[in-house]
């Protein structure tokens, strides 16, 4: 059984909670006591129907206001796959939460109301999926029951959507599915009311979509997380480099280069829990020992000489700003990239993107909460990085405010 992480964005009106509720309910992932608890709170609040949104909106403030504020993670499994849903609010004021939920997802479900077609929110969610390089998108055209399951309406929406996303290069696999989350049409079972639809049901697609190729298995990258030195009689000279493979494949006997020092050595052993492995690949957590004793510490990266990452103190990136305090030119922040942390200064703010229209705004002397755009950074120490589209792990970073310690931006290296 493998794992699929997907993200959804939206508000109660879009039928997002109904859809998630149905996936959980039909896969028997909602327990009786959970259902009883939400029936009870729906009754207390005077709702007519059982409000499935209460399953995902767990915080007191969310229940009071009837909105999703934060990312919530939900789990369900079928005999084929385990699923992790990052359930996020859809409104523009929660862009940062959508970005957060999208950062670990392999797939995004974009919900479209069949009565409304492609609207601003559809474009916003698609833009974020593209920005975060989510390769697989399901366009769930929902509420088909309210348009009499009409193929013409659906076809028109799909055509509209496809002409819009042609500008978004990272969305390589787009699958439209007409559904009614409320009635369960094409959610788990194929709907008899839409026999004109030749594709599969949503769940079938989620169970079978191939996401194994999403990790980079070509360019070898191993950011060192921790040095294991047992200091025991049995393992007196043992020096193991612990970390999670961020790209490529590592095997005993491989020639590797340590960055940023540039020293070379050869992989002696690759371990997982004391068991020697023939090879290790992303996203495995492993321990590597080398033939030579060289100085390596947390924040260094093992790579292969034939395809090294870029090494530089300058980087260009798209960022999403998370803080109520604006980002200004020359701001000094802490940058955390792989297992390395250093200081960074904002050299240039090139442009911002209006995420509803996808237009670039050249005037960008400061970024405020939820704004997305391109900046240039100079770091105090060199970083070893790839472009985000090549490698999500070595191409991403966060910025931290040194005064408050808050995470104030997510960055994707161009």
């Amino acid at each position: 059984m493998d794992l699929l992480r997907f993200t959804t964005a939206g508000s109660v009106d879009d039928g997002k909670s109904t859809l998630i509720g149905r996936l959980l309910y039909d896969s028997k992932s909602i327990f009786e006591d959970q259902l009883e608890a939400i029936e009870e709170s729906s009754r207390k609040k005077g709702d007519e129907n059982v409000n499935l949104a209460l399953l995902t909106d767990g915080l007191k403030a969310e229940r009071e206001q009837g909105i999703t504020i934060d990312v919530a993670y939900r789990y369900f499994a079928t005999p084929k796959r385990k699923f992790i849903i990052a359930d996020t609010p859809g409104h523009i004021q929660y862009t940062r939460n959508m970005v957060t939920g999208a950062s670990t997802a392999n797939l995004a479900i974009i919900l479209i109301d069949a009565r409304k077609g492609v609207i601003e929110q559809t474009k916003r969610h698609s833009f974020i999926a593209n920005l975060l390089s989510i390769k697989h998108v399901v366009v769930a055209v929902n509420k088909m029951d309210l348009v009499d399951y009409d193929q013409g309406v659906y076809d028109e929406i799909v055509k509209d959507y496809q002409s819009f996303v042609s500008r978004l290069d990272n969305l390589v696999d787009i699958t439209p599915i007409p559904i009614s989350a409320l009635n369960g049409d094409n959610v788990v079972e194929k709907s008899k009311k839409m026999s004109w639809f030749e594709g599969s049901s949503l769940l079938y697609h989620l169970e079978n979509v191939y996401v194994g190729g999403d990790e980079n298995h070509v360019q070898a990258r191993f950011p060192v997380q921790w040095v294991i030195r047992p200091q025991s009689d049995k393992f007196h000279d043992f020096r193991g480099f612990a970390g999670r493979v961020a790209g490529g494949v590592f095997r005993p006997g491989d020639d590797v280069t340590v960055l940023p020092s540039g020293f070379s050595s050869r992989v002696k052993e690759v371990f997982q829990d004391g068991e020697e492995m023939e090879e290790a690949f992303a996203p495995q957590s492993i321990t590597i020992t080398l033939e030579d004793e060289i100085d390596i510490s947390r924040g260094d990266m093992l790579v292969k000489a034939n395809n090294p990452p870029k090494q530089s103190q300058n980087l260009e990136a798209m960022i999403c700003w998370f803080s109520n305090q604006n980002l200004n030119q020359r701001a000094k922040l802490i940058i955390r990239h792989t297992t390395r942390e250093t200081k960074a200064i904002v050299q240039k703010m090139s442009y911002k993107v209006d995420i509803n229209t996808l237009r670039k705004e050249e005037d960008s002397s400061s970024f405020s909460l939820n704004e997305i755009g391109r900046i240039s950074l100079r770091t105090a120490a060199p970083l070893c990085y790839d472009s985000y589209n090549n490698n999500r792990q070595t191409g991403s970073f966060i910025l931290i405010d040194p005064g408050t310690n808050e995470t104030v931006a997510a960055g994707m290296i161009v």
Binding site: L3, E32, G58, L59, K60, R81, Q225, K234, Q284
Partner: protein, 301 residues
């Protein structure tokens, strides 16, 4: 050509090990909460893997209510010795004796809430700047919002509306002095995943998890084990039942389920068929709709 796909258990394991190592790297003095419950045993198991062949670079920490099942305490001590880990025990009784915690009175009195006091005192006295816990997001709706690295202010409080966003594999453990973090490496495991993982790894558990006969009383729909701490009240009858525990907590509040599952395979079958969450029989969660969120804000696990 190899198939570079990882099973879901391998992915969850890799993620948990990454978080454990990140905790060791980012903090000066972490501690791993260890109650001898199944989630904390899985945590200790993963920590052994993460740092092999070195020992776990942090101590096991138990907040002991004094109302634990004797099997639990025996298991705890034997386990710490087996893996060569340091064990620190914070006693709720000490907090009561000092007067910082006050024993609850009334019909449903328990020491569950008092654990928070002792936990925060232990963190302060031992100067832990990160406390690793086995909490999972599938357990409860407030926990579904929890971060891997969860910030706690000077008072040990959680501010759920103002949490740091967590993206990719980048975890921000920076803090002011006096603040600390709660770290949850098993966040993405479900109850089923934990059982499947324990089965795959051949992990040993306290006998309480397997079906056995015991004297019980049924109180507010919850089956409690009769012990020094739980005595039948007027109108309650003691019945001998074949039961097992799905979670391990205070003897006063941990409800049992009737079961005949005495192997891990049988338990996995039961878990797969279960229609109640595992916390469904915990009286502490039933106190109000947001009981867990309220306790977590104050500094509960």
């Amino acid at each position: 050509m190899s198939n570079y796909n990882l099973s879901h258990l391998n992915q969850l394991e890799a993620e948990a090990i990454f978080i454990l190592r990140e905790t060791a790297a980012q903090f000066e003095n972490p501690g791993l909460l260890f109650s001898a419950g199944k989630d904390s045993i899985v945590m200790a198991h993963l920590a052994r893997k993460a740092f092999y062949p070195a020992r776990i670079p942090f101590p096991l920490v138990h907040v002991d209510t004094g109302h634990n099942f004797p099997e639990t305490i025996a298991f705890r001590d034997a386990y710490a010795e087996k893996i060569g880990a340091r064990l620190f025990v914070g006693l709720v009784q000490d907090s009561i004796d000092k007067g910082t915690a006050v024993e609850e009175t009334g019909a449903n009195a328990s020491r569950n809430k008092l654990q928070t006091v002792t936990l925060l005192e232990t963190i302060e006295e031992q100067q832990y700047d990160a406390v690793l816990g086995g909490g999972r997001r599938d357990e409860e709706k407030a926990r579904a919002k929890e971060r891997f690295f969860s910030h706690r202010n000077d008072f040990g409080e959680w501010d759920p509306k103002n949490q740091r966003p967590e993206l990719w594999n980048l975890f921000n453990g920076r803090k002011q002095s006096g603040e600390h973090f709660r770290v949850f490496p098993l966040s993405n495991f479900t109850e089923m995943d934990v059982w499947m993982y324990m089965h795959r790894e051949g992990i040993e558990l306290p006998s309480l998890y397997y079906a056995h006969e015991r004297e019980t009383v049924t109180r507010n729909g919850v089956i409690l084990s009769v012990s020094e701490f739980v005595q039948p009240r007027e109108g309650e009858t003691v019945e001998v039942k074949k039961i097992r525990f799905r979670t391990m907590g205070d003897a006063t509040i941990t409800g049992a389920v009737e079961s005949s599952a005495d192997t891990m395979e049988q338990i996995i079958e039961e878990v797969a068929a279960a229609r109640q969450t595992e916390r469904g029989n915990r009286a502490d969660d039933k106190r109000s709709e947001t009981a867990m969120e309220d306790r977590k804000k104050e500094g509960y696990f």
